[in-house]
Every structure is written in structure tokens, then in C-alpha cells.
Symmetry: C2
């Protein structure tokens, strides 16, 4: 009849089920993975045994045998930032459609943390990794990919590597933002970069330059670079004091993202500067709440959901017959609202 009760460790495994149903382990395995191949009667018997024993399949064991893992790792700069939160959510949704799951990490712009996460993920033999890298050097990721863990870059160009990438045209985004301000008449514009080292931001900076040139202006005279502590969420707010001390006083601020713009708005309000009369502010991403800020935020919209879904798509299709490593580029879009206006004359 039923076999032994105590299965070595806590729960009962395939072995106990086999014993209880008087079949071999492989039959149980088949019930799990190829039900059609098992006779209906035996199958029922096995299924009953599973219920009785509270059997829970251990997938980790299966993966040891070579089955592809169903967990995917994502590393973003900060998962609490609404932009990344929305992207990650889109990734999650796509993964769930394929029965996969997402291990989500925030690097906080720290190389060491990024490194640690990558190592953990590789050791856990994940199905693949989606990453918005801090490290400007891509070779570590290329090697990782070569060792068998597919990598998809998020909002980061693949450069001359053969990695997959899903990016936004950040150069264009920066250009859009700057051109908008120039058109309004601004001639002294702060480019507030959390960390210019990040590819994404530097591309936008180049775009801003380009907009100046296109307007027949000297970027060096128009654009002022201000950095704030990258990780600090109140960095942008603190940076406002710096900006207000500048002479000649700038009339507009281009922010890294909408969350940073919120900080800037707060700082300006504290300083009694009205927006846009005293200072124009432009964000980036167009997160859900951007339109309800005070004032409604002019910003550059990113296709967050598409970005995330595309990244997951690319990752999951790695290994497919027709799969080709490629770079997908999404184009940002200027959304003019009320935080930008003509400079005070």
C-alpha cells in the first residue's frame, strides 16, 4: 500500500507519490509533464496520491536536469522611481504570460551593487537578465552573455556589441526639451543631470547641445551643467539653491526625470519662485502624475510599457530559431503643459 511517511526532508516528493500510487517515479513524472502519455486510470490514481500527500513539485530539481529556468532578473537604477516601476511592471506582465517571473533589483547607480546582483543572478542560473547598466563598460555583460546568460540592455545602446537592446532615442529627447525652451526664448538653461556618466543622460545632453546649434546659439553659453548627488532622492531639491545663486540667473531647468522635477518644483516653491513665471521646468518620462502636478509638468514622454514589454519579448525569444540580436529604438515625444513658458523679460 502506501509507502513510508517521512520523506527524508519535510515534504513528500515524487518518490512518496510513486510509492503511494504503486507506480514508478517516471510515471509520476509523466503525469506532471506528459499527462497524455499516461493511462487515464493510473493518472487518476497518481493524482489522488498527490493530493493525499500534499505533494508540491520541486522545480529547482528539474532545472538541474537542464530545463530552462523560468526566472528572469531585472536590474534598474531604482525600482521605486515611477518610471522604472512602470517599466518593470510591463516586464512582469510579459513574463507572466510565459509562466516566468521577475527578480527585481535596484543598483542605485552603484557599480558594486550592480556587480553583486549580476553575480547572484548568474549563480542562480536565471533564464536571462534585463539591465539598465550603470557600468559604461559593456564587456562584463558580453562575457556573461557568452557564458550562457542572455542579456538585454534597457535604455542603453548596445554599441558595437552583439547584445540585445531596447532603447529610447535619448538624443532626440534632449533635443526636444531644449528646442522647446529655446523657442520660448530661454537663453540660459540648466541641464540638471543626476550623473552625466550614465549613457542615457549624456545622450540627452548632446541632444540639448544640438538644439542650441540648430538655433544658431553657442551651447556653451546657453547650457549650464549642474549635478546633484545621484542616489539622493532629495538631491534635485537641494540643487535648486545652487541654481538660484547662479549669475546670470538661468530661466529654465531641464530635469533628468519627472521625479527629479518634483524635487525641483518643491525647491522652487520653498524659495518662493513661481513656475513658469520665475523659472521654467521640464521633466522627462511623463509618468502618471505629471499632468496633475502644480503646475502640470511639461515633459518628454517615454513609452514605458512598450519599452518593458519589448525587453521581455526579446529576452524570452532568445534561442528561438529566427532570433536575431538587435536594437529596438523608441522615439520620445514632447508633451507641453504648464511648467514652461516665456522667460521673464
Amino acid at each position: 500500500m502506501a509507502g513510508e511517511r517521512v520523506p527524508a526532508s519535510g515534504r513528500s516528493g515524487i518518490r512518496e507519490v510513486a510509492a503511494a500510487a504503486s507506480v514508478s517515479e517516471s510515471t509520476v513524472s509523466n503525469v506532471l509533464n506528459n499527462p497524455q502519455v499516461v493511462a487515464a486510470r493510473t493518472r487518476r490514481r497518481v493524482e489522488r496520491a498527490m493530493e493525499e500527500l500534499d505533494f508540491v513539485r520541486n522545480r529547482a530539481a528539474g532545472q538541474l536536469r537542464g530545463a530552462p529556468s523560468s526566472v528572469v532578473g531585472s536590474i534598474v537604477l531604482d525600482s521605486a522611481n515611477p518610471f522604472f516601476a512602470e517599466v518593470a511592471r510591463a516586464i512582469e506582465d510579459r513574463l507572466v504570460e510565459s509562466g516566468c517571473m521577475q527578480l527585481l533589483f535596484s543598483s542605485d547607480l552603484h557599480l558594486a551593487r550592480e556587480h553583486q546582483c549580476l553575480k547572484l543572478l548568474e549563480e542562480h542560473a536565471v533564464r536571462g537578465i534585463i539591465i539598465n547598466p550603470v557600468n559604461p563598460q559593456l564587456d562584463g555583460l558580453v562575457r556573461l552573455s557568452g557564458r550562457g546568460t542572455p542579456v538585454v540592455l534597457l535604455d542603453r545602446s548596445r554599441g558595437d556589441t552583439d547584445l540585445c537592446a531596447v532603447t529610447a532615442d535619448n538624443l532626440r529627447g534632449g533635443e526636444l526639451a531644449a528646442a522647446h525652451l529655446l523657442e520660448l526664448g530661454h537663453r540660459r538653461i540648466v541641464f540638471l543631470g543626476g550623473s552625466i556618466t550614465v549613457d542615457t543622460i549624456s545622450a540627452r545632453r548632446v541632444g540639448a547641445d544640438r538644439a542650441c546649434v540648430a538655433a544658431g546659439l553657442d551651447p556653451a553659453e546657453v547650457l549650464v551643467d549642474i549635478r546633484h548627488a545621484p542616489a539622493a532622492i532629495d538631491g534635485p531639491e537641494a540643487a535648486v539653491d545652487h541654481i538660484l545663486a547662479l549669475r546670470p540667473l538661468p530661466t529654465a531647468i531641464i530635469c533628468t526625470n519627472d521625479t527629479a522635477a518634483v524635487g525641483v518644483l518643491r525647491g522652487l516653491r520653498r524659495a518662493g519662485v513661481s513656475v513658469p513665471a520665475g523659472m521654467s521646468v521640464i521633466g522627462y518620462d511623463d509618468v502618471h502624475f505629471a499632468s496633475e502636478l502644480s503646475p502640470p509638468l511639461t515633459t518628454v514622454r517615454q513609452a514605458k510599457a512598450s519599452l518593458g514589454r519589448a525587453a521581455a519579448d526579446l529576452l524570452l525569444s532568445d534561442g528561438d530559431p529566427g532570433h536575431r540580436h538587435q536594437e529596438l529604438v523608441f522615439t520620445p515625444e514632447l508633451v507641453v503643459r504648464a511648467s514652461t513658458g516665456n522667460p521673464r523679460t
Copy 2:
């Protein structure tokens, strides 16, 4: 010298390293897990072999042997909602401190999806699960916990179960919100609940009732329940039209969370109703951007980071000698800003 090159599957394992360093597999294992026990010379030799072979440890295999998993699953209602995003971020930080990682899921208030996630997590033998459950019945989770997967409830009371829980005093929160509005003179208040079935929300609803009673008023006359499609992010905005059609016209709206409040603000703006002159709005959570909304949002603050960290703490300490299953309660706090005011007379 060096052993064979091709190690069955792609990468080289402990076996290849052992061969290359002319030691046994157990010695390699010791270098990995008990370095002190290996002679410095041999250790060096092994380490060199590892480098040469690009050895990457496979932790999945280790866990098969009974090592506790280092992945924790979290299931929230919607990871893109800034409230949960911040909580999840706090969980992540605490986990990383212990070398663990977080599998993040959104149930979107769907029982089926919650169920699916739980099953996946159990099958993957995770270290434990942190969940803000949709299912009002806790017995499934109790059984899960009994089968060996520790469960910590997030923002959900443990009731009479012996699960761990980290909760907020939602009753108090609802009371704070309603009392504030009553004090301002509102006598017709909409309680806009995404889904009253969720424990969290119904507790707040009870709190609102209590505030009415405390003010000597009949809750049934003061409070109006309006529901919007739970999952739809534009539900709250759409609900505004409903609310504005009500007679007598309510003068205030209590929202489920700040994200919903953003939708309500948008809806009101579209309808040309000014806030707070035409309608008072109160949110919940006090997310980062709440203070910069138009108008700055009155809301009930939750200790998001503490909530998340405490949940992770509780989960990680499960199994510790002095560990006791318990319920931690955080107290919310009213933050009065500019979206609430006296009703138009």
C-alpha cells in the same frame, strides 16, 4: 594536467575545476563554502583553476541538498503603484543586506493570478512569501506556511491565524481622513473604494463611520460609497462623472490612495470643478509627489519604508531561535495640505 574541456552541458562545474586543480570535488566545495578548512596552497590552486575555467557556481544545485533558498517572493496588488513600489523597494533593500533577492508579483486584485503566483513560488521552494492578499480567506496561506513556506502578511491583519503580519492601522487612517473633513464642515462625503472587499479598504471605511458617529452624525447620511473598476488605472477619473451627478452633490472625496487621488484631480479638472473650493479631495499613503500636486494633496501618510523593511525582517528571522509569530502595527498620520477646505456654503 587539465581535465576534459566539455562538461556535459555548457559551462564547467565543480568537477572540471577539481580535475584541473587535481583535487577532489569536495575540496573544491570546501574552497567555496569553508575556505578556512583548506590549505592556503591548495586553495590558491583551486581558485586559479576556477578563474581559468570561468567557473560559475550553481546555487540551484546546492539548494537541492537542503540549503535554504535565498529568494523571497512578494505579491502586491500593483507594483507600479508608487505606494507598493516604495514598499517593495524597502523589502528589496533589507533582503539584499542578507544576500537574498525578491521575486516581485502584482496580483492586480485577481484571485486567479494571486493563486498562480503562490503556486509558482511554492514550487520554486522560495525562502518565504510576503503578500498583500486579495483572497479574504487566509487558510490557503496558513496551509502554505504549514507546508514549510513562511508567510508574512503585508497590510493585512493576521486575524486568528498564527501568521506573521505587518499592518497599518487602517481603521485609524479612515477615521483621520473622515474626521478632518467633518471638522471642515463637510456633511456629504464620498468614500471612493476601488474594491471594498479588500481588508485594508473596508477597515478604513469602518473608521470613517466611526468618525461620523464621534461627531454625532449618522454615517449613512454623510458617507456615500462609490466604487470604481479596481484594476483600471483610469477608474477613479471615470468615477468623477458619477460623483458629480449625485444629488445632493457631495463636497468631498476620500480616495483609496494617492494614485487614485491623481485620477480624481484629473477628472475634476476636466469637469471644471476647482479643488478645494468646489470639491475637497483627500488621498492615502503620502507618496513622494503628493506635496507637489495641484493642489498639494491632503493625505494620510503611511510609513512605507518601515512597513517593507519590517516585513522582510520578520520573514528572514523566521526559524530563528527566539522567533515568534506576531503582528506589527504602524500608525498612519494625517498630513493636511491644500486639497481640502471648507465646503462651499
